[in-house]
């Protein structure tokens, strides 16, 4: 019985993560402006990775490999939003986005 519960939790979390990643990939391909695409990609890195690795954590139990997995997710959470922030700063400084904005500056 415990096996089935564990399998169910793992499957639900992995499917959530995969769904988030699919939606993010569709967003990266379909948006027109850089900042929108970056928003979608950021969702993939944080939410998708968290859900997938929590699913694997639930499957394996509390062992050394699961802790290593969570450590990898922690490092990814540190670096990916920073790179999104830097790309946004670069876009703001270089591209003429005033003509795309809907709210006047």
């Amino acid at each position: 019985m415990m096996e089935w519960i564990r399998f169910g939790i793992c499957a639900a979390l992995m499917l959530t993560g995969l769904a988030a990643m699919c939606i993010a990939v569709i967003g990266v391909f379909r948006f027109r402006f850089v900042l929108n695409r970056m928003h979608a990609a950021g969702m993939m890195d944080t939410l998708g990775m968290l859900a997938c690795s929590l699913g694997l954590f639930a499957a394996k139990g509390f062992s050394l490999e699961s802790l290593k997995l969570l450590l990898a997710v922690a490092v990814l959470w540190c670096t990916s939003p920073i790179s999104s922030h830097l790309i946004a700063r670069l876009v703001l400084a270089s591209e003429n986005i005033k003509e795309y904005l809907e709210v006047r500056r």
Partner: protein, 92 residues
């Protein structure tokens, strides 16, 4: 062979061709970086972790970074939205 190996090999072929046929220089460098990353995963599938670490650190890291800096030095990163090689459209 595995379906994963076949997928990665096709990915490398397609991205290597795409590097040549892309007009946007910035996009070419990013696709080159992707190719290095896929190569690193293939090295891992062939059971040689030394080469995987080296390829990831050098190919998908430092080499691509040097390409970006070189692109900046030749002012190829002008124009809104990234590099377009050298602009040759009519100036009004």
């Amino acid at each position: 062979m595995d379906i994963l190996s076949i997928t990665l090999l096709i990915f490398i072929l397609v991205s290597a061709l795409a590097v040549s046929f892309t007009k946007n220089l910035l996009s070419s460098i990013i696709i080159f970086m992707l190719q290095s990353l896929a190569m690193s995963v293939i090295w891992m599938l062939l059971e040689s972790p030394d080469l995987a670490i080296t390829e990831a650190a050098v190919g998908a890291g430092v080499t691509s970074l040097l390409f970006f800096v070189a692109l900046k030095k030749i002012h190829g990163m002008d124009a809104a939205g990234g590099a377009e090689g050298v602009k040759h459209e009519e100036k009004e």
